[in-house]
Assembly symmetry: C2
């Protein structure tokens, strides 16, 4: 019977751990679930980790001690990162994406789960050392991406809104100058959305001048929270100097030429 039991544990371990990335499961959770000793569990986890790594499917991290346990972590290889960003750049370069005014239509990719899952996992890997406890974004198009980043970190998402909503209670609002429209706009966050001293990672789909990201940094400060990093899927090459420093783009949009129907967008991260 031991052989069947081992297969059973291996399947359940793989599924339970990988469906909740970054979540630390105490060893006791699995030793009780399977009714086995921790030494047996260690052997099982070694098998799962080796196979995940061999097939480029992620890895397991084990943490020793009383508050320890095991967690699943996505761990895309440099070549997988390169492949992902190259493919996204190729898709976004399609001339039919050009919208009058020099904009690029990205919504189909931003609203497709398997792309955003991979991008969210990549942001997790990039920013893991900063240990954020909230992901912050602003409505609307960046929400799926930021949500999948929050999923990869196993932390909640906070969504800043334009204006404030009666259905979310009292809110803190600030004014900011959007880099693209150059108009003064308002963004707000419900008071109850964020505790003070939170460590925040800002994730958004697009950055031009950085005015919106700067607004989110200021809004976070109003809550006594700290922005520890900023990640964007696409940043424009111009203006070179953004309103915030230290942001991490995955793709750089160099130009959108409406005349000759050409988009120049390239990976910013070479994955190695």
């Amino acid at each position: 019977m031991e052989k069947v039991r081992k297969l059973e544990r291996i399947v359940a371990l793989t599924k339970i751990l990988s469906q909740r990335p970054h979540r630390l499961f105490p060893f006791s959770y699995f030793s009780e679930l399977f009714d086995v000793a921790k030494s047996t569990l260690s052997e099982d986890m070694l098998v799962v980790r080796q196979v995940l790594q061999k097939y480029g499917l992620g890895t397991l991290e084990t943490i020793a001690g009383a508050s320890g346990g095991v967690r699943y972590l996505p761990s895309p290889s440099p070549s997988a990162i390169h492949e992902l960003l190259t493919e996204l750049a190729a898709r976004l370069s399609a001339p039919e994406r050009i919208i009058p005014g020099g904009y690029l239509y990205m919504s189909d990719i931003l609203y497709t789960a398997h792309w955003m899952e991979k991008v969210g996992e990549l942001f997790m890997v990039q920013f893991r050392h900063l240990a954020p406890d909230y992901i912050m974004t602003i409505e609307t198009k960046g929400i799926p991406l930021a949500f999948m980043t929050a999923r990869a970190f196993d932390v909640p998402l906070i969504t800043v809104r334009h204006g404030s909503r009666v259905t979310e209670g009292s809110a803190v609002s600030i004014n900011y100058v959007s880099g693209s429209s150059r108009r003064i706009q308002t963004m707000s966050l419900p008071r109850r959305a964020l505790p003070s001293k939170a460590r925040i990672l800002i994730i958004d789909d697009f950055m031009k001048a950085g005015g919106t990201a700067l607004g989110m940094v200021e809004l976070a400060h109003e809550f006594g929270a700290e922005v520890v990093g900023t990640g964007v899927l696409v940043a424009t090459a111009e203006p070179e100097k953004k309103l915030i420093a230290g942001y991490q783009p995955l793709l750089i949009l160099h130009s959108v030429d409406e005349q000759v129907k050409k988009v120049d967008i390239r990976p910013a991260l070479m994955g190695g």
Copy 2:
């Protein structure tokens, strides 16, 4: 070596299939990946399916024939559905969620990935027979839920916006009367977001009178698309008669009493 190889295949099968729910993988994909005969693969898939089912982690569906293959499907048991909805109702009943005006603060739950993943999988199970090829929602708070439903179906999400955006190109707009505000509002969708004849499942976080959902149905008609179903996380008990028929709520909000600080919200689906 056979024993190690089998364990290896089992881990990789579990991870690859379950990370992309509803996606049909041809048998040839795995027989090439592992360099094994399809008969061996069938035995492996049987093991994975049995274990997933035993632990309530989902199931595998195999489809025979040239265009066949294998897919992972979440399959929450009646008791798991009951437990999920009972816990959500309990959390949403907390008196501190009451917002002046009789609203209920739900954003923390709507922006937490593991809750929305479970709710999205539940909508997939509920609406699977309708075979939608797009999920539609309206900004903002329903996006994560609708996105996780789209993920569970392996189909794209379409997000309707208030007003129209210059960055998304030409759009179709309609006016509608929001049931809660009773004001005439505008919603729009970019022309390129949706092909004609698409089968659409509407997913939203909240329904009161159903005016917003009705607006989405009308907007879909403008594209020559068909709305095959509507799912909402929370519907209010009053008004009993909504502007659209045949919607499926998961929870019913019976009352929010600001005076005595009491919220009455209950599962609409008993899970069996």
